[in-house]
Subunit: 406 residues, 2 copies
């Protein structure tokens, strides 16, 4: 059994880095606050006797030796960056839970057969730099390191510049450390476990993701003197797109969601009809065929709206992540650990993307979910209970022991 | 006849202050560019022998003596501030046209019975500080000077601070100079004159205006893991409001318009359902009863949308300007001047608000419109021809001569 109080203490100690007034965390990837939590994590890893490395994209690796160093390490961990208005658990539970597993094994003097490696992946959230789960995507070869280093945030700062500015461009090439498998603990970020009173979610699959950049070019004109029928209003166009996206996601539901999270009117003024809007779209489904249907329906709806309103709408697919089907043997190991420990559990699909989904494309991977209050995440009010966090960490530890061998 | 080339030269000379790459002007009220054009205007007035004054809200007055100084001056002019992406004519034609009238009378050695006063009103556009036509509203007593001085722009700068920063908080109290009447020359900012091939619009009325500040409070949550039916999406709510506003304006049309020109998502992120949006609304009609109906229908639609989506929407009416009915004698004077000069003309309603609409509440006022290309205004592509600008200025001059007496 892990030390629940110590885990809880670590979560709340690191929550100070980027703490918001509403009890959440604002710790955008590669920001000053991210540097603070990275420094904390490196020191904690060193204090736990781990060999710490940082790769060229800033991901942190803490390696615990195994009896058989010819075996590939069992990877566990998650991320420490947050959304602009994020919570204290998303990513953090999985990273500090992994640290807690190491501390517990150290205290108990348990040596494993295979090494164990705990990881803090850079930019899982994707809100400062696209795509999300950026560093693990590069790790599995979906993008080159140079491509990722050149990605820009909204202010034009590149990933490379941001890494340098906080001193976290590591000396190890991306992929330097081969993992044998990866298990990630995370809060569910959805309402199912709580609603059904289950403690552990045995994650067997994850939704695929489509991310688009969009731009609407209408025509700016006077709000008072331009008759309604002559308008080419970019905001009215966006409004139809938002509602079309909602309707399309519902039509393909329940296994589909669609969101427009960002929309910026260029040079807005109260008495000017908006002429130009930049926006982004996020569509997901656990079913590849539904993803294709979402894409097709969305493009058709946008084309119709643009033509009817005599407005130009450009859509760029900037990221496509296929649905994830986790490794059956690892899924069974998680399920078995939950059962052995006496926790109620159910199989579940992840609505959110996770680094484990990327890793699963080149190695066996799986995930452990615990409930979060009202299913709320990406919100400062995100919450989870100490017993649930401890339960998930225990399941993680028992899964690791089963896989690494004692 | 005024000097068409000199007028055209002044318009294009001052267009350098805030010139944009697309041929427009960005000269927000009380900005550095606004100071430049004010300095130019003051010097031009002094060179034309006018007595120049600046009031406590920065409006500039250039007084030309009349034979009978017991008579109240005939006011002419407009404004020199522009929209964030404005054109070279909106307000500028009326102000520099007034200057051109003075220059022409000087050259011809014509003395008038009543004095003439040319005016550059502060913040007509209303895009930096609300309401629009701010200084003329204070002049007629709709707001106190102190109230207006405390209005803030989006960065929190007050009108008072902005005036001080460019040295244009004048020593004269607002209203220090009583005008006997006011005539404003302006581009139409709409498509009617051009479509009908008329040179002069004899403006007999102006639309009333409703300005609202709005705020939507939904709930931020994860774009991937929050099922569609559980969302409280602020952007989807705004989208319905935008389309409802459009439908309501069309329903009450053709004598009604409605626009949402500003909408800002708080802390946006690609994979977060928008939780909070601030927006503004602009509704207009020349008919007071339709204005009331627009307000009623809009509030009802918003209440229904908010309740259905379980989202809070707050609406604040921050400005209500009743429809304007200009002075019949002055309207006739404008119409007569156009006829005498041989220009085609028609009666017209102003879609935009103007300082003349404010002044009309305490003195006889009227306006002269000239066509603008494709009816486009509040856009960098705003355009008007030299002959039309000259024609409008000639009508302005002949109206002034008729009213002031020669
Ligand atoms: N787990 C999580 O919130 N990931 C962020 C990436 C995404 O799914 O949008
Ligand atoms: N004439 C003009 O564009 N005025 C700005 C105020 C408004 O009508 O919105």
């Amino acid at each position: 059994q892990i030390d629940s109080a110590r885990l809880w203490g670590s979560i709340h100690e690191t929550a100070q880095f980027g703490a918001t007034s509403k009890g959440g965390v604002r710790r955008l990837t590669l920001s000053r606050e991210d540097k603070q939590v990275r420094d904390w994590f490196r020191k904690a890893c060193e204090d736990a006797g781990l060999e710490v490395h940082t790769d060229a994209l800033g991901s942190q690796f803490g390696l615990r030796k195994g009896r058989d160093m010819s075996k590939l390490p069992v990877g566990i961990g998650s991320h420490l960056d947050t959304q602009p208005t994020g919570g204290k658990y998303d990513g953090i539970l999985g990273t500090l839970g992994a640290l807690e597993v190491i501390r517990t094994l150290n205290d108990a003097g348990i040596e494993t057969e295979a090494p164990i490696c705990i990881v803090n992946w850079t930019n899982e959230e994707g809100s400062r730099f696209a795509p999300a789960m950026m560093a693990s995507a590069a790790y599995v070869g979906d993008f080159t390191t140079d491509d990722i280093l050149s990605r820009k945030d909204i202010d034009g700062t590149t990933v490379g510049q941001a890494l340098d500015s906080i001193g976290y461009r590591g000396d190890k090439p991306v992929g330097f450390l081969k993992l044998g498998c990866f298990v990630e603990l995370h809060i569910e970020q959805g309402p199912i476990l709580e609603a059904e009173g289950k403690t552990i979610g045995v994650v067997d699959s994850g939704q695929g993701v489509l991310w688009y950049d969009g731009k609407i070019s209408g025509f700016e004109s006077h709000a008072g003197s331009t008759p309604m029928p002559l308008r080419r209003d970019a905001l009215a166009t966006l409004s139809e797109i938002v509602l079309a996206m909602e309707a399309i996601a519902k039509k393909h539901g329940p296994n589909a969601v669609g969101t427009i999270g960002e929309a910026v009117i260029a040079k807005p003024s109260r008495n000017v009809i908006p002429g130009e809007i930049a926006f982004t779209m996020d569509c997901r489904s656990a079913d590849g065929a539904i993803m294709d249907a979402l894409d097709r329906d969305l493009r058709a709806a946008i084309a119709e709206i643009a033509a009817r309103r005599k407005v130009e709408v450009k859509i760029d697919l900037v990221w496509r992540k296929a649905p994830t089907h986790f490794d059956p043997k690892l899924i069974a190991a998680v399920e078995n650990a939950a059962k052995t420990l006496g926790y109620s559990s159910r199989r579940i699909t992840s609505g959110a993307g996770h680094d484990a989904c990327n890793l699963n494309t080149i190695m066996p991977a799986a995930m452990v979910f615990v409930p979060c209050k009202d299913g709320v995440s990406h919100n400062e009010l995100e919450d989870a209970t100490q017993p649930d966090c401890a339960a998930g960490t225990n399941v993680l530890m028992h899964t690791v022991l089963a896989v690494a061998g004692v």
